[in-house]
Amino acid sequence: MISIDARGKACPMPIVLLAKGMRKLASGATLTIQADDRAFPQDIEAWCHKTKNQLVSLADSDGQYAAVIRKA
């Protein structure tokens, strides 16, 4: 399982790192990404919608986000 740490990185780096990580992932496999960019919750939803990947979960712990994404 791939895990990406994008904490401390501002837009657009979380989704850039995410896109790079997804390339290595097989269809149906999941990936975890941590981020603290304030735009992350909206961006991750939009990114999944645009790229047709599935946002399995998005946790928010006081501005520390963790998302699980399943590759389409």
Binding site: G8, K9, A10, C11, P12, M13, I15, V16, L18, A19, K20, D37, W47, K50, T51
Partner: protein, 196 residues
């Protein structure tokens, strides 16, 4: 009464002729459909040669490429100065030399469009802030763009006008030189086009 009396007689030649005409019309219609097909592509005209606008351009470019879009950047006018490399000497005319001296030699020398403070403090402060706040530098984003397949086209007219030679432009994968027709052809079927 003969029921077939009113049915027109159609020869094989007539059928063949009509069929050929329909085929011709279908080809024309198909080409119209192909022309109006939208492509998930972002096209940016990078006109400005200032650091802040370049940041915006490359945030958009890397973000779009990461979201699966094709990205096409068209560098023109002052924007071309951002793609220069430092320390290249070329034979030039007087005014070309003046431009060469006065315009920034590459992304590291770009001014800010606002709060530049004469080029002294502005850009340095901005780069410091960007690092502190986790914003990738323009140079990092240019390298990422290359990795993500963002295309860069440079306007040849601007290059000629400002006296920049191809040998002065940075190495970038697949960088090409073109004119307005190439930009329009690439941008026309795209969904998003912007001028920066």
């Amino acid at each position: 009464m003969n029921a077939l009396a009113n049915v027109p007689v159609v020869s094989n030649a007539d059928v063949a002729e009509r069929f050929a005409e329909l085929e011709r019309q279908l080809t024309v219609l198909k080409s119209h459909v192909d022309d109006s097909k939208q492509v998930d592509r972002l096209s940016l005209i990078v006109f400005s040669g200032s650091l802040d606008r370049l940041i915006a351009a490359f945030v958009l470019a890397t973000g779009a490429a990461s979201s699966g879009m094709e990205v096409n950047l068209f560098f023109t006018f002052w924007g071309t100065a951002a793609l220069r490399r430092n320390n290249v000497s070329e034979k030039k005319g007087f005014i070309e030399k003046m431009f060469g001296w006065m315009l920034p030699k590459g992304s590291r020398k770009l001014p800010l469009s606002q709060m530049n403070f004469g080029g002294g403090g502005g850009p340095i402060m901005m780069r410091h802030l960007m690092q502190k706040k986790g914003v990738a530098s323009v140079e990092e984003m240019i390298a990422l763009s290359g990795e993500l397949g963002v295309k860069i086209n440079v306007c040849t007219m601007s290059m000629d006008l400002l006296g920049f030679k191809e040998s002065e432009i940075v190495d970038y994968p697949g960088l090409s030189y073109c004119g307005v027709a190439k930009f329009l052809n690439d941008a026309s079927p795209g969904k998003v086009t912007m001028f920066l």
